[in-house]
Symmetry: C2
Subunit: 139 residues, 2 copies
């Protein structure tokens, strides 16, 4: 251990907080969920509604519009009948994924612990999202 315990109050000037820049993009209550369900590829409005059971059409619409304005997602209207719309992460949106995944990993651990009755989970899952990373569809 190279660190020493601090003896005085607030001797270490805290590093400038850089959390806000990211939280501005993922801070909304539903935003992380939307990004999460979009990370596998483009997805439609109705699909997202089913993905996120508790969300109302109004909120989903509002968040999607907001995220589009911020450049996090891309909205593409397909000229089909009936018309459908696809939402997709932009490059900027994909940059948020590490944060979202880290959040999900912590959430996974928390959930496991809760299921285990409050006792800490020992072995951290190597990558509980291997499944996610291996999305592979042939047709």
């Amino acid at each position: 251990m190279a660190l020493k315990v601090r003896k005085n109050r607030s001797p270490a000037p805290p590093p400038k907080c850089v959390v806000a820049e990211c939280m501005d993009l993922i801070g909304g209550a539903w935003t992380p969920n939307i990004i999460w369900y979009l990370h596998g590829g483009p997805r439609r409005f109705g699909e997202l509604r089913i993905d996120i059971p508790a969300i109302s059409a109004k909120m989903l619409s509002a968040r999607l519009k907001e995220m589009e304005a911020k450049g996090v997602i891309l909205r593409r209207v397909m000229p089909t009948s009936p018309p459908s719309t696809e939402y997709e992460l932009t490059d900027l949106g994909r940059e948020l994924l590490p944060a979202i995944i880290a959040i999900a990993e912590v959430g996974f651990k928390l959930k496991q612990r809760a299921a285990a009755g409050g006792k800490p989970v020992e072995e951290p899952p190597p990558t509980c999202f291997g499944v996610v990373a291996a999305v592979e569809i042939d047709a």
Copy 2:
């Protein structure tokens, strides 16, 4: 690249979202900031108020109380004169750090890009928080 591009709509059932479990703990608007400034060690009420300039005493108090109730932080009153209070991350709170740090790292990248005029930053900083990890005070 081992992945193939999906050809149909929503063929991949999205993995259960585990983001909510963590967002319940860090979802508040100020919570990530508080955890961030607490990750270097215990910190007092007034210090946090200065650390997070935009926060009001009311909100800071509310968040701290909420986080204490959730077991994320520990509140310790020091029997000094004038009395002071220290807030510290619990084990549970420390488990949230990977997510917070990931958020901060993304925020750092975003900030750099913004400073660079919107162009993407190429080299990812190895650990832009080495400074943070090396808190070391002699006296």
